[in-house]
């Protein structure tokens, strides 16, 4: 078995203990509820988008260290990004966890989010890491629907 410290790195432990951007955000322009029924991970993500940029986002909810740290680091890294950049991050994060993107050799916009790459070795935890990103995608997808009307 792999050393659990490869996954539970200090950054993840620290963000689990003190999650950034944790709390409610009102008024918001977009929100989504992410649920991982198998584990019980449950997050509510609220986003403020203006001028095509994610101005602010916060999350609330219960979950394991992986989902909480993933949520926290996502908010830190997505804040201030354009919608296109945010969607690219969603896509690349998923690819990294699926094992189709090797952040060490392939160009990417994930930066320090690559510390979650070891999750791909723990299939039972993949959903925990991806949950906030899937929730962000849902929230932003709402924006697309709204903007086309």
């Amino acid at each position: 078995m792999s050393d659990p410290r490869e996954l539970y790195q200090q950054v993840i432990i620290e963000h689990n203990k003190k999650p950034r951007n944790y709390g409610d955000l009102e008024p918001c322009t977009h929100h989504a509820h992410g649920l991982n029924p198998l584990c019980g991970d449950d997050i509510v993500l609220k986003v403020v988008v203006a001028d095509g940029v994610v101005q602010d986002l916060r999350f609330l909810g219960e979950g394991c260290a992986i989902s909480k740290a993933s949520s926290s680091l996502m908010t830190v890294n997505v804040k201030g990004k354009s919608l296109a950049e945010a969607e690219l991050m969603v896509e690349q994060f998923r690819a990294m966890i699926r094992g189709t993107l090797d952040t060490a050799v392939q160009p990417n916009v994930l930066g320090r989010l690559s510390l979650f790459q070891n999750v791909k070795n723990l299939p039972s935890r993949v959903k925990c890491a991806v949950l906030p990103w899937a929730t962000l995608h849902s929230a932003l997808h709402g924006l697309e629907t709204v903007s086309t009307e």
């Binding site: 078995m1 792999s2 539970y8 432990i13 203990k17 584990c39 991970d41 219960e62 394991c64 935890r125």
Partner: protein, 412 residues
């Protein structure tokens, strides 16, 4: 069995019957503390299933061939083993199902549909598994009936003081688990059944976690229905049992229709077999039933009293060791417990505990254990659960304790 009490279980010998315990798993010994989720299968059961499937198999209750007759005999012998195991009056009261869940659904969809009407009540306990909640909710929704709940205290014991008030003239059935899969609580089902019967209410006992740990005597309990699964008894998956009181089984309508369960079929009218065949449409899980019979033989060969004594000693030792870990809280402190031990750690989610223990080769369950109302009652999202079987050792519990300390070290 009583003649075997003189000697304790030879655990080292027993472990040699389990290939999974004798083979490195990802490079380290497998420490299996998850028998409440499913029992490991001992070699004699694997071999019995293999032998049946290799040499004895054809369909049962069909045709005149010697092969078919012998397959039918083996299949019905397994039913008789189950009958004796739970001391049912007759093997005609043993219905094969896919598992506990299907057994309960069968009762809800036949007995329930016949007996439960708008405004009626179904009484369940606060510590039921989803399998003894959802089938009743579906029925209640369909009929306009109401679910009521027997409460439990913080220790995880049912509060039975108000039972007579919960048993009203509208109560059509009471469903209760023999042993809680989360808390380990052994419920006083005999007393509950006696008091329900005094009000004329029949009782279904979910025995999924009961039969692996306790000697079960449905006649002594006076249970109306008793449901359990083969795989939690170290038998195959896909086979389970519904025991039912004879008059109830006879009065219940068929559930699924098809081959086997009929006496005669014409376009005008079909007549049905008596129980249990009435409830067994189609080709059953033959090898699995024979495998369950073999698993019962295996368990009886070890001696139920010796198994119980060993598991009880493991639970006492694990409780003492885990209580000594700062920041750990045991969930479920009932006076009467089977060898199921749930716990939470301050500030650490059970899934993280489960993953780190897994990296140490220790298999536990982390989550809500298909009992979300129990989690809601206790105000926790999930627990980590270690469950102990007759093949587990004190050394494995020591490894669990070391693993928990490692989790705390990583999260420090």
């Amino acid at each position: 069995m009583t003649t075997q009490t003189a000697l304790p279980l030879d655990v080292a010998q027993v472990r040699r019957d389990f290939p999974a315990l004798c083979t490195p798993f990802h490079g380290q010994p497998l420490i299996y503390l998850d028998s409440a989720v499913s029992g490991l299968t001992p070699r004699p059961v694997v071999e019995r299933v293999s032998h049946y499937q290799s040499f004895e198999h054809t369909n049962v209750h069909r045709g005149v061939s010697t092969l078919s007759q012998e397959a039918t005999d083996r299949f019905e012998e397994a039913r008789e083993k189950v009958r004796a195991f739970i001391n049912a009056p007759s093997s005609t009261q043993i219905v094969w199902t896919r598992g506990t869940t299907e057994s309960i659904n069968l009762v809800a969809q036949t007995f329930g549909r016949q007996q439960v009407h708008a405004g009626d009540e179904i009484l369940l306990s606060a510590m039921e598994h989803h399998s003894n909640i959802v089938p009743w909710q579906l029925l209640a929704e369909e009929k306009g009936a109401r679910i009521r709940v027997i409460p439990m205290n913080d220790a995880g014991e049912l509060i039975l003081d108000g039972l007579e008030q919960l048993l009203t003239p509208r109560t059509r059935i009471l469903g209760v688990t023999h042993v809680s899969n989360v808390l380990g609580t052994i419920n006083p089902v005999k007393e509950i059944i006696r008091r329900a019967h005094a009000q004329g209410v029949p009782v279904l006992v979910d025995g999924a976690q009961g039969v692996p740990h306790l000697p079960v005597d449905v006649t002594d309990l006076d249970a109306d229905f008793y449901a359990f699964s083969g795989h939690k008894l170290s038998g195959p998956t896909g086979i389970g049992v519904l025991y039912g009181r004879r008059e109830l089984l006879e009065a219940m309508p068929p559930w699924q229709g098809g081959g086997s369960m009929i006496l005669s079929v014409t376009w005008e009218k079909t007549t049905f077999c008596p129980p249990p065949t009435k409830f067994e449409a189609g080709t059953p899980a033959i090898a699995q039933a024979i495998g369950l019979g073999s698993a019962i033989d295996y368990l009886l060969g070890l001696g139920l009293d010796r198994v119980g004594a060993h598991e009880h000693a493991l639970l006492a030792y694990a409780t003492e060791r885990l209580q000594g870990i700062p920041g750990l809280r045991i969930i479920g402190q009932a006076k009467a417990k089977a060898s199921v031990l749930s716990f939470v750690l301050d500030g650490i989610h059970p899934h993280d505990i489960g993953s780190i223990l897994d990296s140490e080769g220790i298999v536990v369950r982390a989550g809500h254990h298909c009992a979300q109302p129990v989690m809601q009652r206790l105000g926790i999202p999930a627990t980590t659960r270690a469950s102990f079987s007759y093949f587990n050792t004190r050394e494995e519990i020591d490894a669990l304790v070391s693993g928990i300390l490692k989790v705390q070290e990583i999260f420090k």
